[in-house]
């Protein structure tokens, strides 16, 4: 079955599960919002209008306005773009680097494995948030640098997951056979090993996306990620916390947005795991989220 058809079938199966359906729906919505954000909010994140500030949610501000009179709904929509951008790029970085490392380590074993995985151990032993903060101290704060920081933090987990999957796949008869026959490694890796390691990686991706979004929020909350006047859900939360009494909506809506989006990715991950590999379900995702370094929090 071609990969595309397989993907389609997987999605369909995922959508049949309540968690998966919810996940796909919410993520779909958020993605759409993020893609058309410039159209929806042509004025940008900083449409200050002090006379309109701190208004409760009513028309024309369904989510209310913030302390500078900016429409909260507008900023939440723009924040969606920020969160998704950071999430996807960060996980993208981690994915590419981590999977590569994991593939090489798991396939070749031996000294290469030792060196690569020890390096991953080093990164892993580094407290996640401190790594992110240190990287941001290096590069300066901002959305773009937050992507890099979070990406670096997540490389080890992808490496580990990939390696574990590769190890077990490598034991499969057809792989060993191909190797002994002398087929080029690259071909084996990309044609056989990777596709079979894919399920674990995909599940990990979904979980990591969830945490990447949380991490971006945490970093922006600390003032290290997205900078004002740009909009990020975490930044909005941090700004809103000074106004809880007067304007609960300032923190409520971004908080809900983060919660729902992260939940969606987590549930999607669960559903994917159920569909893709029922055999390995138990430890795969539980392990995935347990070992997931969550920047800014206990994990």
């Amino acid at each position: 079955m071609s990969p595309l058809r397989r993907a389609g079938r997987t999605l369909a199966l995922v959508a049949r599960r309540p968690g998966g359906a919810f996940g796909l729906l919410v993520i779909g919505m958020v993605v759409v919002l993020a893609l058309v954000d410039d159209l929806l909010v042509p004025g940008g994140p900083n449409q200050v209008s002090v006379p309109d500030r701190l208004q409760a949610p009513t028309w024309p501000h369904p989510f209310g306005t913030d302390e500078l009179g900016r429409d909260v709904l507008d900023r939440v929509v723009l924040g969606a773009a920020t969160s998704l951008q950071v999430g996807f790029v960060a996980v993208g970085i981690a994915l590419v680097a981590g999977v590569l490392v994991g593939l090489l380590a798991g396939y070749y074993r031996g000294p290469l494995d030792a060196v690569l995985m020890r390096s991953m151990d080093v990164l892993f032993a580094f407290p996640a948030i401190l790594m992110a903060i240190a990287v941001l101290a290096l590069l300066g704060p901002g959305t773009r640098n937050a992507m890099i920081a979070i990406g670096i933090v997540y490389i080890p987990i992808f490496a580990r997951v990939t390696r574990a999957a590769v190890l077990s796949v490598s034991e499969e008869v057809y792989v060993r056979a191909s190797r002994s026959v002398g087929a080029p490694d690259a071909r084996i890796l990309f044609a056989h090993v990777l596709p079979n390691a894919a399920p674990s990686i995909i599940v990990q991706t979904s979980v990591s996306l969830a945490f990447a979004i949380l991490s971006e929020a945490a970093l922006s909350f600390l003032g290290l990620g997205t900078q004002p006047p740009n909009s990020s859900w975490g930044l909005m939360l941090s700004q809103g916390r000074g106004f809880l009494e007067q304007a609960w909506w300032m923190a409520f809506f971004p908080g809900i947005a983060i919660f729902l989006t992260v939940l969606a990715f987590n549930l999607l991950g669960d559903a994917l795991r159920d569909v893709l590999d029922p055999r390995r379900r138990s430890l795969m995702t539980a392990g995935a989220s347990a070992e997931q370094p969550k920047v800014g929090s206990d994990e």
């Binding site: 449409q47 200050v48 000074g242």
Partner: protein
């Protein structure tokens, strides 16, 4: 004084106008009096304490309780001569003394470690008579050597406030309890320069070996008992020369979260805090058991440009920005009404204030100026310290206003230490913050606008202004002095050496069980006369 280092936003205003605001008007009169060349007879202004009875506990009854004070910011260190952090001074105010202190009512100068002073005919010699029977926290006796050591330390080591001693040629102990300060030219604001705040505190002459950044040996009503990551503890000093405090000590806690500070205040955990965000004032005012202190302040917020390079080396570009911003909106956004728009630095209540506001909001004119200067589509970064909410709020409002004239301003919020570093190195397009606790016009303008002055980070240089400022610093006639400063101020404003925004009010909140405390217009935090009732 020093760069403002606080996170608290400013409180709302006007109906709250307390007695102290009215008192600040008196600033006018008394500053006039004490800046003259004549010596002031200290007796009339002195506190009720008999200075010779220093060792006696003249306070009433056993000290009751510890005051818990929540500071919005964390002190960076405790060496009074070296730090410029306002949070540090919120602690040091109670630990050290200066020769004279500004009174709480009208900021006129009163005796502290000096009981009287005289100035020579030519104004070049000031002789201070020192208080007898004063002991340091370490038990040693206070004398003229300590004063000479302290002030010379600031000058010789070129510490933070050395610029205030620019005119001083010598500080000498001319008697056991007598110090003579010689100046190269008449210095009408000498008292402000030696006593405006605790940056010129007196430390023991034996303290050369001590690390004053972490230990404190002062003569103040409280002594430093311990410091930790989360706070600082002071205990009442039994041998204080003045009236022994009625409380047994002060426990400062660093509480950056205003929600935490206010909740603590409401449930009795915290007795005093300066962490009062502007938007919370209304609710706080109505809260049982909480008192609010609000007064017009002498702080000011501003923006400054890097004038050493294009495009801001062109005064027309700076003027364009000055015409494009709406100060009313900025002030309202940043202070919720607890602030006063001001195109100059000096607040209107001051004797030295001038009603000068040359810039009217005029976006088309601004655009025109930019076009003429070849700076259309200008894009630049404004550096702001992330801990200062009004500064960050102002920056965002300004960004929005400038966008309307085609200028893109990026807001760069940086950590305070990084801000100070980059500011000192000239690594910025523009920066925005505040200066705190200014009393004399010298405080407001000298260090920032004189060519090559210690805080002139923006690179402004105008010989005419230099002349005026230098003359004014030496002019002993009040009115002439005021006129000179007014002229200098006009040029400073016209040429946008700084783009001034507003003067924020001072707002603090404390529990009803605290009495004897009031917010001061110079935002000094003094717990000497506080009592705690249950």
């Amino acid at each position: 004084m020093s760069p403002l280092n606080r996170a608290a936003t400013r409180p709302p205003t006007t109906h709250r106008a307390s007695v102290l605001v009215a008192g600040a008007t008196a600033l006018a009169l008394t500053l006039a009096a004490c800046s003259s060349g004549e010596g002031v007879d200290a007796e009339g202004l002195e506190e009720a304490t008999d200075p010779s009875a220093s060792a006696e506990d003249s306070g009433g009854g056993a000290p009751a309780g510890t005051l818990v004070a929540a500071l919005a910011n964390t002190p960076d260190q405790f060496d009074p001569h070296a730090t410029t952090s306002q949070a540090s001074f919120q602690v040091l105010e109670n630990v050290y003394d200066t020769l004279v202190v500004p009174s709480a009512e009208d900021l006129s100068f009163e005796p502290s470690l000096a009981t009287e002073w005289t100035t020579s005919e030519d104004g070049l010699e000031w002789v201070f008579t020192l208080r007898e029977g004063v002991t340091f926290h370490d038990g040693s006796t206070f004398d003229a050597e300590d004063v000479a050591y302290s002030l010379n330390r600031i000058i010789d080591e070129e510490l933070a406030n050395a610029f205030r001693f620019g005119n001083v040629t010598s500080v000498e102990a001319t008697g056991d309890l007598e110090v003579t300060i010689t100046v190269s030219a008449p210095t009408p604001n000498l008292l402000a320069n030696v006593g405006g705040f605790k940056g010129m505190a007196i430390v023991p002459s034996e303290s050369a070996g001590l690390d004053l950044a972490t230990q404190a040996v002062g003569t103040g009503p409280f002594e430093l008992v311990s410091t930790s990551a989360g706070g600082v503890e002071l205990a009442a000093f039994d041998d204080y020369w003045g009236e022994r405090p009625s409380i047994s000590g002060v426990e400062y806690r660093y509480v950056g979260e205003s929600a935490a500070a206010l909740t603590g205040l409401e449930n009795g955990d915290i007795d005093w805090t300066d962490n009062v965000p502007a938007q919370s004032i209304e609710t706080l005012a109505d809260t049982e058991g909480v008192e609010l202190g609000q007064t017009g302040g002498s702080d000011y917020y501003y923006m400054a440009f890097n004038q050493t390079q294009p495009p801001f080396d062109d005064v027309e570009v700076r003027r364009a920005v000055a015409l494009a911003i709406d100060r009313e909106e900025i002030t309202e956004a940043a202070t919720f009404g607890a602030g006063t728009v001001n195109q100059t630095a000096i607040p209107s209540e001051s004797f030295w204030a001038n009603d000068y506001a040359p810039f009217e909001l005029d976006p088309p004119q601004a655009e025109q100026l930019l076009a003429d200067a070849g700076a259309e589509g200008l894009e630049f970064s404004l550096m702001v310290p992330d801990s200062d909410e009004p500064a960050v709020a102002s920056a965002q409002v300004v960004a929005s206003q400038l966008a309307d004239v085609g200028v893109t301003m990026n807001v760069d919020t940086v950590e305070t230490g990084v801000f100070l570093d980059r500011q000192g190195q000239g690594d910025f397009d523009a920066f925005s913050w505040a200066w705190v606790g200014n009393i004399d016009p010298f405080d407001f303008y000298q260090a920032q606008h004189l060519s090559d002055a210690s805080s002139n980070f923006q690179g402004y240089s105008n010989p005419e202004v230099d002349d005026l400022l230098t003359q004014a610093a030496e002019e002993t006639d009040q009115d002439a002095r005021k006129d000179l400063y007014a002229q200098a101020e006009q040029i400073i404003v016209d040429e946008v050496s700084y783009l001034f925004y507003f003067n924020p009010d001072v707002v603090e909140a404390w529990s009803s069980s605290v009495s004897g405390y009031n917010a001061r217009p110079d935002s000094a935090v003094n717990f000497e006369t506080v009592t705690l009732t249950d």
